[in-house]
């Protein structure tokens, strides 16, 4: 590859000793900064002036620092504490799967009506705030908010249960607006029909209920072969509804489901 541009410049050598400003110029420059910052230094008084909760904060930092824009401003897409909408969570496990730090654990929460379901619990002692979990969430119920004060003096307080993240969700913090459009997954769930025993485990555990057990036509019995007597069913995956969480693969007792290219 050739560059269109890109040339070499030789940076000038310093001026000869006679012409150097000795020490006067730096001193003058620093003195100028002194008078500039005499009343309003650029410091952001962070713990005294809360960044996020205070709506006037942005205006204030603009005035206080000489900088052209708000220094230390927290933008809405800052990746901070997670907010979880327990009600729409489908327990698909994708957040836990995509976490590089294994800080997400699926725990039981009360789903109402005497039922319980699995929702993510995040240990911020391990979390690296990479955002993979919220990117992976197919329902958009796990998002990251700009809230960033998780400081505590007890390690147990770093573990955020689903209910606690639901509280964060209810506060209506600005939601991370840059949830990405995921690249189209070229893989789908495929079935090895030779191994399937039609046990229904995948359809039962599928969080989106996109797996239906369909009856397949009974094959012609070859000579000398005995076919099972019961009705033969095997899973069929609705690819458009599938969130590709892989739960079916992990629950399959015969290892007959696998990822593969769409046929």
């Amino acid at each position: 590859m050739e560059t269109k541009y890109g040339k070499t410049v030789k940076v000038a050598a310093p001026p000869p000793a006679g012409v150097r400003g000795i020490v006067v110029q730096p001193m003058a420059l620093v003195a100028r900064q002194f008078f500039k910052s005499l009343w309003r230094p650029s410091t952001i008084l962070y713990p005294m002036k809360e960044r996020l909760e205070n709506p006037e904060f942005r205006e204030e930092v603009k005035v206080e620092s000489g900088a052209p824009i708000g220094v230390g401003e927290i933008w809405d897409n800052y990746r901070g504490v997670h907010a979880l909408n327990i009600k729409t969570c489908i327990s698909c496990n994708l957040c836990a799967f995509s976490c590089p730090d294994t800080c997400i654990e699926m725990v039981n929460v009360d789903a109402g009506g005497g039922k319980s379901k699995k929702c993510p619990q995040i240990d911020y002692g391990k979390c690296s705030f990479c955002g993979f979990c919220s990117d992976a969430c197919p329902e958009g119920c796990l998002t990251m908010t700009p809230a960033y004060t998780i400081t505590t003096n007890n390690r147990k307080n770093m573990v955020y249960s689903p209910e606690r993240m639901f509280e964060v969700f209810k506060v209506k913090l600005p939601q991370n607006p840059t949830r990405i459009a995921l690249p189209a997954n070229e893989d789908v769930i495929l079935l090895d029909q030779d191994l399937c025993i039609g046990c229904n485990a995948c359809a039962r555990d599928c969080p989106t209920k996109c797996i239906t057990m369909i009856e397949i036509p009974r094959a012609e019995a070859k000579p000398g072969e005995k076919l099972p007597k019961r009705i033969w069913k095997e899973p069929s995956v609705n690819d458009s509804e599938c969130v590709r969480c892989g739960t079916c693969i992990s629950v399959c007792p015969r290892e007959c489901l696998y990822w593969g290219a769409r046929k």
Partner: protein
């Protein structure tokens, strides 16, 4: 016995990280040097072999704590080479933008720390103040200030937000003025010039032989810049100059970095103009399941063969703020890299410490090692 060994480090203000510079001194004169590293070794290359392709990104950010996004892109380019994916053009431009902003922030922090090493603390605070603006820019589009996790195999995580380009231009205008100020503090101060000119000389021939790269090499009058010589990403489309200096000393390295910051501002402006004109996707449309997000469990190992993803080797090389960084990734068709090798420029630049140091004084050590721009996170990996 007039000579003695002194351990400068692993906890020492000169080191900027955890490493140990053992020097043998005769009075104030350095007669021998033996750098020791490894205090910050986290085994990133080994952990890479246990992580899926996207998950490695979180490690790359932590490779170098002042130039995280550079390492992200380095890894991503190698991974894309190994997997055979081409990112869209807009993603490439955003990557170049990230690189140059990172170069700015890294060089500014270098400048701040360097002048403080020489004994002047004021520019340190100026540097930190202005670097914060750059970090704010990063935060406004990646979502984090230092550990970005922004690059993805096949593009970048998200597009820049609305209003970003104007904001970025404002910061660049502000930096224009500040860079001149930085230079005034140093170039017009006789003491600074006395401390840096003719100190820590490493001539071109020796530097090439030692494998030195980056601003240190360019200060020795060798115009090697991977961005220009072996362009990657959108660099072929971008107009910039390669700064060199013939001093081969600390002052030359300082000048080269100052000029590079100006060039970075120039590149950022070009990229912003391009981004304004060309909307488009920032992620490749199709990526293999196990590198895209989400990354569900792979299923049983017996089916890995059945998928038949292409095996391959990915190689990338780029001009990181510290020098020439390389990544070499071997893909054996599995979920995770078979081998990921990272070449850190700092690793090599530290190794040559003997050549910079011998014959100078103890007082020169911060000036010399500071001018090399040491970041131990990436040297130890």
């Amino acid at each position: 016995m007039s000579e003695m060994w002194i351990n400068m480090g692993p906890q020492h203000p000169m080191t900027h990280g955890l490493w140990n510079l053992r020097i043998k001194v005769d009075g104030e004169l350095i007669v021998d040097a033996d750098p020791e590293i490894g205090y910050l070794h986290r085994g990133i290359e080994k952990i890479c072999e246990y992580r899926r392709y996207n998950e490695v990104i979180t490690l790359m950010d932590r490779t170098c704590y002042v130039a995280g996004i550079a390492w992200e892109q380095l890894y991503i380019m190698a991974a894309e080479g190994a997997l055979g994916i081409t990112p869209p053009a807009r993603a490439e431009y955003i990557r170049v933008l990230s690189q140059e902003l990172q170069r700015l922030s890294s060089h500014i922090i270098w400048y701040a720390a360097y002048v403080q090493d020489i004994g002047l603390m004021t520019p340190f605070l100026y540097g930190m103040r202005d670097r914060d603006l750059v970090l704010d820019l990063f935060q406004s589009y990646t979502g984090a200030r230092m550990t970005y996790e922004y690059m993805r195999v096949g593009g970048v995580r998200n597009d820049v937000p609305v209003g970003f380009t104007d904001r970025c231009r404002k910061v660049m205008d502000w930096l224009d003025g500040k860079l001149v100020e930085y230079e005034k503090v140093c170039d017009n101060s006789t003491i600074f010039l006395d401390r840096t000119i003719g100190v820590g000389i490493l001539k071109a021939k020796e530097a090439i032989q030692d494998g030195i790269t980056g601003p240190v090499l360019r200060a020795a009058n060798v115009a090697r810049d991977i961005r220009r010589d072996r362009p990657y990403s959108a660099y072929p489309e971008i107009d910039f100059d390669v700064a060199i200096h013939d001093g081969a000393d600390c002052y030359g390295r300082y000048r080269v970095r100052m000029e590079e910051m100006k060039q970075s501002v120039r590149i950022v402006r070009q990229v912003l103009d391009w981004l304004d004109r060309n909307p488009g996707p920032v992620l490749a449309e199709k990526v293999p399941r196990f590198v895209g997000t989400p990354s569900p469990p792979p299923g049983k190992e017996i089916y890995v063969e059945r998928r038949g993803y292409p095996k391959g080797r990915g190689f990338s090389s780029m001009e990181e703020p510290h020098g020439e960084a390389m990544a070499y990734i071997i893909n054996e068709g599995a979920e995770h890299p078979y081998r990921a090798k990272l070449r850190s420029p700092v690793f090599v630049n530290i190794a040559a410490a003997k050549d910079y140091l011998i014959g100078y004084r103890i007082s020169d050590i911060p000036a010399i090692m500071g001018s090399v721009d040491v970041c131990l996170g990436e040297a130890d990996r």
